[in-house]
C-alpha cells in the first residue's frame, strides 16, 4: 500500500542506564509515580505546617511565632501574624492541598504507578508526555513556592482567587502583587501538566489493555483513574482559560473581571466593564469537577482494597462502574451550588440544587455497595483495610453535610461559615487522604518490596481517625452557630463562646499532625529495614500481584499476561485458595 512511507522503527524495551535517566528524567511510569508521591509528600508537609499556623493563630492571635518573621518580614513582623498574612497562609494551604496533594498523589502517584500494570502493559501510552507532565507539575510547585519569598508574600484571595481582589494588582494590599501573579502562573502551568496526564491515562486505558482484559474486567481502580482523567481533560481546559484572562487583567490592564468604579485607597481604578461573577462561573465550572477528581481515584482504591480484605467480590461491579460515570457527568451540572449567594435567580438555584441532590444517588449507591461488600465478608483487618473502612465512614459523614449545603435556603445561612469548612475537609481533607493511606499501605509491598509494620500502621490509623473527627466534626457545629470562615480573629461577641471549641480543634490538629510522624517513620524505615515482601502478600487478584515486588523495569519481564477472569474473584468455591488471580487459567469460574 503505502510503499514509500516507512514503518517507524520499533525500539526494543531497554532498561535505562545512568542516574539521570533512571531517577530524574525517567520515562518509567513507576519512577514517575514515585516522583509524584515525593511532590505530594512535600506539598502535604508544607500544607500541614500551614494548617498548624492557621489553627494556632486562631486561638492565639497575638502570639509570637519564632522564625515566621524570617519568612515574611512584612507579613509577620516580630513573629506576629498580620490578618493579611493569615489569609496568605490559608490561600497557600488550600492551593497546595487541593492541587498539589489531592490532584497529584491519587492520580499521578498511584494511577501512574499501577494503571499500566493493572491492565497488563509495559508502560503508559506516551512515556515522554508522562515525564513532561511530572516535571511541569514540579515547575508549577516551584513557582507557587516562590510566592512565599517575594516581598509581599503569597496572595490573600483564597484558593478560589475571586476577583476583584485577585485581579486589581498590588493596590489591593499585601500579597496581591507578585504573589498573586505567581499563583496564577503556577496554576496555569499545573493545568498543562494535568491535561498531558489526562491524555496519557485515557489513551493508555483504552488502547493498551492486554489480551482478555475487557473493559468489564478492569479493576475498579482503573475505571476510577479513567473517569478522573476524563474529568481532568474537560475541566482543566476551562481553568486554563480563566487563568489566562485573570493574568491579562493583572499584567495587561484588561478588565475581564473588574467592574467600573472600584475605589482602592481613595483612588478610582481605571478599569471598567468586567464581571467578577464571570470568574466565579469559570472557576467553579472547573472547581466542582476538580473536587471529584480529588475523590474518585480514592473511591476506586477503596473498592479495590475492600474487596481484597473482605475476601468477597465487590458488590455490584457494574453498578459501581456506572455510578462512577454518572458522578462524572453530573459533576458538570452542579457548579452553581458554590454560588448560591451570588444573586442568581432562585430558579437557577433550584436547578443546581436538584442536580446536586441527584449526585448523592450514585454516591449513595457506591456507599451501600461498599457496605454490602463488607457484610458477610471474612474480614482481614489489615491497616489498609482499616483505612478503607474509615474512608467509607468519613465519606458518609462528609457527604451528609453536603446534602445540607445543597439546599439554597440553608446555604444562604451556611455559606462561608465553618460548616462548609467542615464539609470539604471531611470529604477532601480526610476521606480522600484516608484513601491515599489505604493505597499506600496496600501497595507499599509491591512498590518497595518490603512490608510495612502493621502495629505502627494500626496505631497510625486509630490516632488519625480519632484525631480527624476531633478536628473537623466540631466545625459543623460552630458553623451552624454562625462562625464565619477566612477570618483571622473572632472579635464579635457571639463568637466568644466558640473560642474554646477552636482551642480544642487546634490541639487535636497538632496531635493528629504529630501522629502522621508514625506513618512517615513506618514508611521510610520499612523501605530499608522492613521484612521482604512476597509477590502477593495480601492474596489479591489483580495483575500487579502477579509480578515481583518491586516490579522489573518493564513490569512483566517481557511476557504479555493473558487475563481470563474479572478482577474480584475472591471467595471462589472450589478454588485451591479462596481467590483466583486475573491471569489464572484455572477452569473454575465463580458464578
Amino acid at each position: 500500500m503505502a510503499a514509500e512511507m516507512p514503518v517507524e522503527a520499533v525500539h526494543g524495551h531497554k532498561a535505562p542506564e545512568g542516574f539521570i535517566s533512571k531517577y530524574i528524567f525517567s520515562y518509567d511510569h513507576k519512577v514517575i509515580g514515585k516522583q509524584y508521591f515525593l511532590l505530594a509528600l512535600f506539598s502535604v508537609f508544607v500544607g500541614m505546617v500551614l494548617s498548624w499556623l492557621i489553627r494556632f493563630h486562631l486561638v492565639w492571635p497575638a502570639a509570637h511565632i519564632p522564625g515566621l518573621e524570617k519568612i515574611s518580614p512584612t507579613g509577620a513582623a516580630g513573629g506576629v501574624m498580620t490578618p493579611e498574612y493569615y489569609l496568605s497562609l490559608l490561600t497557600l494551604h488550600g492551593t497546595l492541598m487541593i492541587f498539589f496533594v489531592l490532584t497529584t498523589a491519587p492520580q499521578g502517584g498511584f494511577g501512574n504507578y499501577f494503571l499500566p500494570i493493572q491492565i497488563g502493559a509495559e508502560d503508559m501510552a506516551f512515556p515522554l508526555l508522562n515525564m513532561l507532565s511530572f516535571w511541569t507539575a514540579f515547575l508549577a510547585l516551584a513557582v507557587l513556592m516562590a510566592s512565599f519569598f517575594v516581598t509581599d508574600g503569597p496572595p490573600t484571595s483564597g484558593w478560589t482567587a475571586y476577583p476583584p481582589l485577585s485581579a486589581v494588582g498590588p493596590v489591593a494590599g499585601p500579597g496581591q502583587g507578585m504573589g498573586q501573579t505567581l499563583w496564577v502562573i503556577s496554576i496555569a502551568i499545573f493545568c498543562v501538566s494535568s491535561l498531558l496526564g489526562a491524555l496519557n491515562f485515557i489513551v493508555t486505558m483504552l488502547d493498551l489493555r492486554t489480551r482478555g482484559m475487557s473493559l468489564m474486567r478492569l479493576p475498579l481502580t482503573c475505571w476510577a483513574w479513567f473517569v478522573t482523567a476524563v474529568l481532568s481533560l474537560l475541566s482543566f481546559s476551562v481553568l486554563f482559560a480563566a487563568g489566562a484572562l485573570l493574568l491579562l487583567d493583572r499584567v495587561a490592564g484588561t478588565s475581564f473581571f473588574i467592574p467600573a468604579g472600584l475605589v482602592f485607597n481613595d483612588r478610582v481604578l481605571p478599569h471598567s466593564g468586567g464581571s467578577p461573577l464571570l470568574w466565579q462561573h469559570l472557576f467553579w465550572f472547573f472547581g466542582h469537577p476538580e473536587v471529584y477528581i480529588a475523590i474518585v481515584p480514592g473511591m476506586g482504591i477503596i473498592s479495590h482494597v475492600l474487596s481484597c480484605f473482605c475476601r468477597k467480590p465487590i458488590l455490584g461491579y457494574r453498578a459501581m462502574t456506572y455510578c462512577l460515570i454518572a458522578i462524572a457527568i453530573l459533576s458538570f451540572t452542579v457548579w452553581g451550588h458554590h454560588m448560591f449567594v451570588s444573586g442568581m435567580s432562585p430558579y437557577s438555584a433550584f436547578l443546581f440544587s436538584t442536580a446536586t441532590l441527584a449526585i448523592t444517588v450514585p454516591a449513595a449507591i457506591k456507599t451501600l455497595n461498599w457496605l454490602g461488600t463488607l457484610w458477610g465478608g471474612k474480614l482481614r483487618l489489615t491497616t489498609a483495610m482499616l483505612f478503607a473502612i474509615g474512608f467509607v465512614s468519613l465519606f458518609v459523614t462528609g457527604g451528609l453535610s453536603g446534602v445540607f449545603l445543597a439546599q439554597p435556603s440553608l446555604d444562604v445561612y451556611l455559606h462561608a461559615t465553618y460548616f462548609v469548612v467542615g464539609h470539604f475537609h471531611m470529604v477532601m481533607g480526610v476521606a480522600a487522604i484516608f484513601a491515599i493511606f489505604a493505597g499506600a499501605y496496600f501497595w507499599f509491598p509491591k512498590m518497595f518490596g518490603r512490608m510495612m509494620n502493621e502495629s505502627l500502621g494500626k496505631t497510625h490509623f486509630l490516632l488519625t481517625f480519632l484525631g480527624v473527627n476531633c478536628v473537623f466534626m466540631p466545625m459543623h457545629f460552630i458553623g451552624l452557630a454562625g462562625n464565619p470562615r477566612r477570618y483571622s480573629t473572632f472579635v464579635a461577641n457571639f463568637l466568644q463562646p466558640l473560642l474554646s471549641v477552636h482551642k480544642f480543634m487546634t490541639i487535636a490538629a497538632f496531635v493528629t499532625g504529630a501522629a502522621q510522624l508514625i506513618f512517615l517513620y513506618n514508611f521510610f524505615r520499612s523501605m530499608r529495614k522492613g521484612p521482604k515482601a512476597p509477590m502477593n502478600p495480601w492474596e489479591a487478584t489483580s495483575l500487579e500481584w502477579s509480578i515481583p515486588s518491586p516490579p522489573p523495569f518493564d513490569n512483566f519481564g517481557g511476557r504479555h499476561p493473558v487475563v481470563y477472569r474479572g478482577p474480584y474473584e475472591y471467595g471462589v468455591p472450589g478454588a485451591e485458595k479462596d481467590f483466583l488471580m486475573q491471569d489464572s487459567p484455572e477452569g473454575v469460574t465463580a458464578r
Partner: protein, 223 residues
C-alpha cells in the same frame, strides 16, 4: 487499517518502545476500540480540551459583551471585513491543501505530501501576515488591551486575546507542519503522523469558523 496503525503506532527516539506496537489484532492486546493509532487518539483528546479552552474564552467574551453597553462596531466592510473574509478563504483553502497532503502521504507520494504541506504552511503564513497587518492598523488607530477610541475598553481586550490565542495556534501549527514536511519529504514520518498534524491544522481552521462571525461580523459597522 492495520498497516496504518503499524506506521503510526510506534514512536522514534526515546528509550522505551511505545507499547502500542504493530501486533494489535488480538494476539497480545485487546482490540482497539476505535481502530486508530494511540497517537491519533491522543491528538483528538488534546483537540477536545483545546476546543473547550477556546469555547470558554468565547463564552467569556459573549458574556461580557451581552452585559456591556457601548460595545464598538468598528469594522467597516472595506477594508476590515473584506480582509477578514480573505483570511477566512486563505485558512479554509489551507485546510484543503492539508487534506491533499494527508492523501498524498497515505498514497506514499513523499514529495507530493511535502509539497502540499508546504502549501498549507504558506496559507498559514499568509493568514498570519494579513492578521498582523490588521493588528498593526488597529493599534495605530489607538486600540489597546485596555482602551480604544470607540467604546468599552473590553473590546480591545477581547479582540486581542481571542485572536491572539488563535494566531499563536496558527504559528505553532506552521512550525509543527514544517517539521512534519521535512520528515515526510525524507520519508522519515508515517502517513499517520501527517494525518495527525492535519487534525491539528483543521482544528485551527475550525476555531476560526467561530471567531470570524463572533468577533468580526458581530462588530461590523453598518452603513
Amino acid at each position: 487499517m492495520a498497516s496504518d496503525e503499524a506506521m503510526g503506532a510506534t514512536g522514534v527516539g526515546h528509550p522505551h518502545a511505545s507499547p502500542h506496537a504493530a501486533e494489535r489484532s488480538g494476539s497480545r492486546m485487546e482490540a482497539s476500540l476505535y481502530a486508530i493509532s494511540s497517537r491519533k487518539l491522543g491528538m483528538w483528546l488534546f483537540l477536545v480540551s483545546d476546543a473547550i479552552t477556546f469555547a470558554a474564552l468565547l463564552v467569556a467574551y459573549s458574556y461580557l459583551r451581552v452585559a456591556s453597553e457601548n460595545w464598538p462596531r468598528p469594522f467597516r466592510f472595506s477594508p476590515s471585513i473584506v480582509n477578514a473574509t480573505i483570511m477566512t478563504f486563505v485558512l479554509v483553502t489551507s485546510s484543503v491543501t492539508m487534506v491533499l497532503a494527508v492523501r498524498a502521504a497515505k498514497e506514499g507520494r513523499r514529495r507530493g505530501a511535502a509539497g502540499w504541506l508546504l502549501a498549507t504552511m504558506l496559507g498559514g503564513v499568509v493568514f498570519a501576515a494579513l492578521h498582523l497587518r490588521e493588528w498593526l492598523t488597529l493599534i495605530h488607530e489607538g486600540v489597546r488591551l485596555f482602551q480604544n477610541p470607540w467604546g468599552t475598553p473590553l473590546f480591545g481586550a477581547a479582540f486581542f486575546s481571542l485572536t491572539g490565542l488563535h494566531i499563536a495556534h496558527v504559528c505553532a501549527g506552521v512550525i509543527y507542519l514544517g517539521a512534519v514536511a521535512i520528515g515526510a519529504g525524507r520519508g522519515r514520518v508515517s502517513a499517520d503522523a501527517v494525518e495527525i498534524s492535519g487534525l491539528y491544522w483543521c482544528f485551527v481552521d475550525l476555531v476560526w469558523m467561530f471567531i470570524f462571525p463572533l468577533v468580526y461580523l458581530m462588530s461590523a459597522r453598518m452603513g
